[in-house]
Amino acid sequence: MKRTALPLALAFIGLGIDSHAVPSIAGLDENSSLALAEAGEALMGELQCANCHAGGAEYLFARKSGPDLSEVGQRVSSVFLMKFLANPSDAHKGTRMPDMLQALPVKEREGAVKALTAFLKSLGHEDEALPAWEVGDGARGKALFEEVGCLACHGDSLDGPSRKPVESLSTLAHLSGKYSASSLAQFLHEPLEVRKSGRMPDFHLSSREAADLAQFLVQGRPQVAKAEQAEPQKVRLGKRLFVQLNCVACHSLKDLPPPRPSLPFKDLRRDRGCLSGQKGNFPFYDLSSFQRKAIGECLEEGHSPSSPEKSVKQALAAFNCLACHERGGQGGPSPWLSLRMKSSQEGLGDHGRIPPSLDLVGAKLKPLWMRKVMFDGQRARPYAHTRMPSFGEDNLGLLPALFREVDEIEEVEFPEVGRKKRGEVRSAGHKLVGDKGLNCVACHLFNGKSAGGFEGLDLLASYDRIEPSWFYRFMRSPRSLRPGIVMPSYWPPGREGGEADVNASIQIRAIWHYLSYGQGAPTPSGVGNPGTNLEVGELARVYRGRSRIAGYRGISVGFPEGIHYAFNAETGTLTGLWKGDFVSVGWGGQGAGNFNPRSRAVQLAQDVSFQLSEAAPKAWPLRPETTKEKPVNPNPLYPKNLGYRFRGYSLDDLGIPTFSYAFGKIQMEDSSRPESSGDVHLLRRRLSITSPYAAKVLFRALVGKIEAGPDRIFATPEVRLTIPRAAFELRDFPAPGEGRELIVSLILDEGVSEFSFDYEILR
């Protein structure tokens, strides 16, 4: 009950004395900054008068069409269509659609509504309902409604009368009767596809967000919207009426004849026809007295000469830009709306949450950037929850150039830095931006990275966004251009040409020069470039990359149990073990993803660790060494000449890898996993070796200061290794007294032989 009464109540509050449901054109009311005739001109554009009345002056931003009806049958419920056609402004408060049927006697009128509805419901693909849309979450949708900017035009019309609505309200209460959650979601996802005039802009909602918002707006009482096939006769009649009533003037449809022109513009009078306020054989617009006055003024005075200033003002009014943005002392969010504009970087003050002022925006922003923001969804301030929506380049494509024409600031010269001096200037800028200079990074991101403080506008975007003259003037005195901004003045005002002034100009230009290198600009001091820690989840994790512990063809294997190992795939060797956290990875700068164990690891030998016994030389063949003096690998085929071939690995259901490699015709499957018995946590390595013949393979299992214990246990100070029952040799390596190597003889039968080795970390 409350909900149905609400829209009417709000309409009264929002629109003051006008008791009828006038077309709601938010930016064009008594408070408009435009002269009356200019407002009238814009209103006529908004109401699409030119679609029937030719010969008016050029209003650059005129709406050329109403909603695209080619799939309306799929989108909108028939219940709503009937109500809407019968009385548009009653079914949808504030609609710009005139009543087309008001001149008909009641009986005929009902027939016309039914026929038109039948025709409209036949539009769209009957058999393919729109692709199913995911079901949204109304609570999340409510949050979006309040956050992203809907409130700027739609007030809080859905959320109870206790909160004061914005000045010019356009109600949404009709939505639940009009759309299904799914068809509304699709509309919200791409509004410009249906409403090409861009007055309902595209908020860059993801499909998920569109579903959430739709769910909230239909409030769980959605209509089923689906194209229907009514009696062909009725559809035909509706189609004929659609043409007769000249609906095609605003809703062009394929295969329908072109619209018929009505009286030319010069013959229009303020007290006649659509403007008479009377009902008659013309579309009925229930205009407010202001709207009527403004349009009348425009008709009588004629159009004022067009100028960029006027066009900018008209655009800002017609698209209701001023609901969020202030410009020239006009507009900006109402106190009610302002309180609802949030930011995830509260410390940045109001400028971090309220859409920026458009004062001098044409002198501030580079035109291409402005286009990207206006039409491509580019965002400089992702922390502000209010989004800049896209009104469509077809509708507002002229605006960036107009801003540029209108807005001027005094040009500041930016001398090009001679090639020889570039390094010096750049490094001066680099220093100034960092935490040892002006510490810009304390409040600004740099290439998406924070210095741990606020995460304000990314400094690196400055060069693409901002005109250098603006940059200079803003830096000299942020508050003179943006009153109230938290950005401090770094350079005290000084006598022009004085020492302070010269220093400021050198420093500001150095910063600009530094930022002009784009990402080539070295990261300023204070902005971290930490390694990325890889965490192990429920499954084992395999990560390949070069590493001190496993060579360039290194593979690290992490286990949820907190014991990890590294495998050198170039030599087929288990080369390291550690406990605790897994690895950190170098993905900053040029970092090619090298990994490092996150705790001190046991480093084992990295040489090839198996050899066929018959081919084995007396001394174990070691991998070739390169040094600074001799950097070229002297024996690049070392592992391959020993018969080793790496074949890859496979993962089991727990994500645990089994490495496959071969020595000649002998195939090895090598898999390690944690085992616990009591307090002992160890890594058990299983070798499954397939040989076409009986053979003996030597395994160099351990190198270092090895002590032999009982029960085939061998230990260095860092690791304890238990070997299977097999012959072994513990021999000096590399020279007597310095260390030893443990060579285990693995006797292979023809077919598969299995061996198991346990590694226990002793630290």
Binding site: S206, R208, L368, R371, D376, G377, F414, P415, E416, V417, G418, R419, K420, R422, E424, V425, A428, G448, A461, Y463, P468, V502, I506, Q507, R509, A510, W512, S516, Y517, G518, Q519, G520, R541, V542, R544, G545, R546, Y552, R553, A569, E570, V585, W587, G588, G589, Q590, G591, A592, G593, N594, T626, V632, N633, P636, R645, F646, G648, S650, L651, D653
Partner: protein, 494 residues
């Protein structure tokens, strides 16, 4: 300190605009370009980081994305008008992916360390088998990147291997290209590479790779990867003894000459096919792809599209074989991408997907990583469709009829030529400049082609065309006024 600062100020020399020479400005055409080709950012849901290095299209229409961070994502819904695609992590933990091909249910992934065949054996949508197809090269420096191709019709894959630290060849076959046969045999096929940025087949099916500016390469270029060839940088000659099929190492080229003269002495030397004049046409050109969209990407069917890392731009190139040698032209196409482009891929709907990162090297685009889709709006820009060589000069084809009154006038064709010093120093100046005047023009009846005659064609020179005064029937100037043709050979007169 103060006096020092003042000194800096005095040493500025004054011009009106602040420029970032080292990265290179854009052409300044983005605002006009967007009327014809729109760039749509593909949203990447947090916390995913997708630093695309290689792409492949699967038979079911999904796009596979291999990343610098070693992940392999499968992405569906990329072609939706307003994309919010799904990214499925198919494999992870690999080592910088710069090559991705798909065949018979398996991915062939070129990582720094090896070429790997990756499959999902249990059908749970995650990779579980990683088979080493080839590790027939050394890898001992982080800068030793490996770029992989798609399959050729015989089922071969090719890998281009960068030098050690981009200057040396310290590990096996650094600076070489390898062929990996369907049987898994790895065969070295060419030496002399420096710092490849992509490898694949050109619009005629010949194997090409991207070479970067640096020693022995004064500009970035597209080069024909000739089996048995030497691609210009002699530091990798030390591995010929490991490549018996390649014969003996070539004669070392002499630093400081010209490629046209050196190639007479060094018979294996393959000259660059298309030079991308430094800064004007990119600074680190990267992955390329041939447009086979059957017109869905507009008027440039069967042409090469190529990205640039530093400038975040996409360019076009065309190639032709003259007297058995490849050569061709490059053209500006679209600027204003958000990150450093590492690779490109046409989507099933005929849009051009680009991706990359901006970390590590200077990049114009400001995002640490991004995926962007470029769509043709259906409007045809007035562009130089292609340049080709004729016995007397050049043929210039346009995408729309040129206004013949202007186009008939030889003085409208501003030509400038240069060549590079072929030397071991880093990069190089443009030298031996000429400004030939066009002797005669013949415009075709349909206005789509102008054939110009020049007094002399200089082999080894890059011909820079500036057609800024030509207009189409509506009086519109070319979207991009310049294009660059690299001459190696001159066709015989007919």
């Amino acid at each position: 300190m103060k006096s020092c600062a003042r000194l800096v100020f005095c040493l500025y020399f004054f011009v009106p605009f602040a420029r970032a020479e080292e990265v290179g400005e854009w052409w300044g055409t983005a605002e006009r370009e967007r009327e014809y080709y729109r760039i749509t950012e593909i949203p990447i849901p947090s916390p995913l980081v997708i630093e695309a290095g290689a792409f492949a299209t699967l038979p079911d229409g999904r796009i596979a994305i291999g990343t610098r961070r070693g992940d392999l994502f499968l992405c569906s819904g990329i072609d939706n008008r307003k994309p919010s695609p799904k990214f499925e992590l198919f494999a992870t933990g690999l080592d910088e992916i710069f090559g991705l091909a798909f065949r018979d249910g398996a991915f062939y992934v070129t990582q720094s360390c090896e070429l790997t065949r990756i499959t999902d054996q249990n059908g749970d949508g995650r990779a579980d088998k990683f088979e080493t197809v080839s590790d027939g090269w050394g890898y001992a420096n982080y800068h030793e990147y490996a770029f992989g191709s798609k399959f050729d019709p015989q089922g071969n894959l090719f890998v281009a291997l960068g030098l050690s630290n981009s200057y040396h060849s310290r590990a096996l076959f650094r600076g070489w290209a390898m062929k990996i046969t369907p049987q898994g045999k790895t065969i070295p096929i060419a030496s002399g590479l420096r710092s490849p940025g992509g490898i694949g087949h050109n619009e005629h099916g010949a194997l090409f790779y991207i070479e970067s500016q640096g020693p022995w390469n004064s500009s970035c270029s597209l080069k024909f990867l000739k089996e048995g060839g030497f691609m210009g940088h002699p530091i990798s000659f030390n591995w010929y003894e490991y490549a018996p099929s390649m014969g003996k190492a070539p004669v070392e080229p002499e630093s400081g000459g010209r490629i046209v003269t050196e190639k007479k002495k060094v018979k294996e030397l393959v000259p660059y096919a298309v030079v991308f004049p430094y800064i004007r046409m990119g600074r680190s050109i990267s992955g390329f792809v041939v447009n086979r969209t059957k017109g869905r990407f507009g008027p440039f069917e069967d042409q090469i599209f190529i990205g640039d890392y530093t400038q975040s731009i996409v360019m076009r190139a065309t190639t032709e074989k003259v007297n058995g040698v490849w050569q061709g032209a490059c053209y500006p196409f679209r600027e204003g991408f958000s990150t450093g482009i590492l690779n490109l891929q046409f989507t099933p709907e005929g849009n051009l997907l680009s991706g990359g990162t901006n970390r590590g090297w200077p990049v114009r685009g400001g995002k640490p990583f991004a995926l962007e889709r470029m769509d043709w709006t259906g409007r045809t820009p007035f562009e130089i469709e292609r340049l080709s060589i004729t016995p007397e000069g050049f043929s210039i084809k346009f995408t729309k009829p040129v206004d013949a009154d202007k186009a008939k006038n030889a003085s409208q064709y501003k030509l400038a030529t240069f060549t590079h010093i072929y030397h071991g120093g880093y990069g190089g100046p443009e030298v031996d400049q000429t400004t030939p005047s066009v002797k005669a023009v013949k415009v075709s009846a349909d206005g789509l082609e102008a054939r110009i005659t020049v007094p002399e064609i200089k082999p080894g020179h890059v011909y820079e065309f500036d057609l800024g005064t030509l207009v189409d029937a509506k009086g519109e100037t070319l979207l991009h006024r310049r294009a660059y043709y690299t001459v190696n050979e001159i066709p015989a007169g007919g």
